[in-house]
C-alpha cells in the first residue's frame, strides 16, 4: 500500500492496527488451542480481556472477559477459555455459558507466574472462535516451580 493510501485510511478512521494484527494473538497449531478449536480459525475481536497493566504480585490478579453477543438461544457464547503463556499450567480456566447467562461477561482472580501475555478465546454458538490478548507485567511471580 502506498504511504498516501495508508494515511488516507488513517484519516478515515479505519483501524489499521486491527487489520495488521488480525489473528496475531493465537497460534491455531498450539496443542492447547487446537484441543479447543479443532484447528478452526480464531478471529481477533468481539472479545475484551481486561487485566491491570502492572501487578505487584501474581498471586491474585483481577480479570474480566466480555464478549459482544446478544446471548439469545440463536446466538450466544458457549464458552470462554483463558490461556496463560508462561504459567506451569497454561490452561487457566474455562467458563461454560449459554443463553441463560444473559450477558457474556465473566470475572475471576488469576495467578500469574511472571510477566506474560494472557489470551482469552470465546467459542460462539455458530461455531466461530474469537480472541483477545493482554500483556501484564508482574513484579513478583506466583507459583514459581520449586519455589
Amino acid at each position: 500500500m502506498k504511504r498516501r493510501a495508508v494515511l488516507a485510511l488513517g484519516l478515515l478512521g479505519i483501524p489499521l492496527r486491527g487489520i495488521a494484527q488480525a489473528n496475531a494473538h493465537v497460534s491455531t497449531t498450539d496443542p492447547l488451542v487446537y484441543a479447543l478449536t479443532k484447528g478452526k480459525a480464531v478471529n481477533a475481536g468481539r472479545v475484551r480481556l481486561e487485566l491491570p497493566k502492572i501487578a505487584d504480585t501474581g498471586y491474585s490478579v483481577p480479570m474480566t472477559v466480555r464478549v459482544e453477543s446478544p446471548m439469545t438461544p440463536a446466538s450466544h457464547v458457549r464458552a470462554i477459555h483463558l490461556i496463560a503463556e508462561k504459567n506451569p499450567m497454561r490452561d487457566m480456566v474455562s467458563f461454560q455459558l449459554g443463553p441463560h447467562s444473559a450477558r457474556a461477561e465473566v470475572g475471576s482472580n488469576i495467578r500469574l507466574n511472571g510477566s506474560q501475555r494472557v489470551v482469552a478465546i470465546a467459542e460462539l454458538s455458530d461455531g466461530t472462535f474469537w480472541s483477545d490478548a493482554a500483556y501484564i507485567e508482574v513484579r513478583e511471580a506466583a507459583c514459581t516451580e520449586d519455589g
Partner: protein, 106 residues
C-alpha cells in the same frame, strides 16, 4: 465443607441480567510448592464448579492452578422467576461443597 460467600442482589426484575459473585475459601494448592522439609505439597485445586438456577444450569467453570487461592467467580444470569441459585463444586481431594442463595424476581 469449604466456607463460601455469595453476593447477589436480593431482588431483580424479570428479564434482567443479574450479576452474581461467589467467593470460596480454598487453598488452590498448585502441587508445585514444597513444605519446609522439601517434600512436595500435593496438588489440591477446586477444579469444577457449576451453578443451577431453578434447576437449570446457568454457569459452569473448569479451574486449574492458574486461579488464585480463595477463588472468586463472577458471572451473569437472566432473572426469570423467584427461586434458588445453587452452587456446587469439587476439588482434587474429592471434597464437594455447596452453597445456596435466594433471588426474588418481581
Amino acid at each position: 465443607m469449604a466456607l463460601s460467600r455469595i453476593q447477589l442482589p436480593p431482588e431483580a426484575r424479570r428479564g434482567e441480567a443479574v450479576e452474581v459473585r461467589i467467593l470460596i475459601q480454598h487453598p488452590m494448592e498448585t502441587g508445585l510448592r514444597r513444605d519446609t522439609h522439601g517434600n512436595r505439597i500435593a496438588r489440591n485445586v477446586l477444579h469444577s464448579l457449576a451453578c443451577r438456577y431453578n434447576d437449570v444450569e446457568v454457569f459452569r467453570a473448569t479451574l486449574s492452578s492458574g486461579i488464585a487461592a480463595n477463588p472468586v467467580l463472577r458471572f451473569f444470569f437472566r432473572a426469570e422467576k423467584s427461586g434458588e441459585l445453587e452452587f456446587w463444586w469439587l476439588d482434587d481431594d474429592e471434597v464437594e461443597g455447596t452453597a445456596k442463595a435466594r433471588l426474588v424476581v418481581t
